[in-house]
């Protein structure tokens, strides 16, 4: 059975290799305010507002780079074909996706009621990645489980 929308199997490894530096960069950006100087861009002219506060006129693209790396890496891992991508694996894939979406929104609902104020931005940030992370975890767990037993 031909599964559409999947990448060749080798993308799983490419994704893992890409994930490591991207995640490291993401952690540096998020927790240590790290920025690559060469990724700073000037947007428009310097602006000084009526209270004499210098408004930001540059943006730094380090966080964009890190997030892009993490998302692309997770997509590669999640959408890489298994070595033998057959009907049972396709079903397990769908099942895991269903799980991931459901759990993701349950977590989001819980966080919505428990986390307030600025911290909620963090929730939104992690929530961008949780669908893929839960999917990858559940899918591989299920496949590993049905590899065991017997023989």
């Amino acid at each position: 059975m031909e599964s559409k929308l999947l990448l060749p199997n080798r993308y799983k490894r490419i994704g893992l290799i890409l994930l490591i530096p991207s995640l490291a960069l993401g952690i540096l950006v998020r927790f240590f305010d790290f920025q690559f100087a060469f990724l700073s861009l000037r947007i428009g002219k310097s602006v000084i507002n009526e209270k004499n506060i210098h408004l930001e006129d540059t943006i730094n693209l380090t966080d964009e780079l890190a997030l892009t790396g993490i998302i692309v890496a997770l997509l590669f891992i999640a959408f890489a074909r298994e070595k033998t991508e057959d009907e049972y694996i396709a079903q397990t894939r769908l099942e895991s996706l269903k799980w991931a979406v459901l759990i993701n929104y349950i977590l989001l609902l819980v966080a919505t009621w428990l986390v307030h104020g600025l911290a909620y931005i963090d929730v939104m940030m992690y929530n961008m990645l949780t669908v893929l992370i839960i999917f990858i975890t559940r899918f591989n767990y299920a496949l590993n489980n049905s590899k065991k037993l017997f023989d």
């Binding site: 298994e82 033998t84 009907e87 049972y88 694996i89 049905s146 590899k147 037993l149 017997f150 023989d151």
Partner: protein, 66 residues
Amino acid sequence: MKNTIRIERAVLNITQQDLAEKIGVSRQTINAIESNKYVPSTILALKMARLFKKNVDELFLLEETD
């Protein structure tokens, strides 16, 4: 639904891996079918029947609950 795949496999003396390779699926699939966690498609059932030289309804049997 239950099936006799494990028995037929024992008759031919082949492993789950051997069977998987012969009909072009993963070992997980054979394992899931044998442990009644997965009902294979008609195509897969026919391939197994051909390999074991049996009729499909000798390999797969309906149960009361089906």
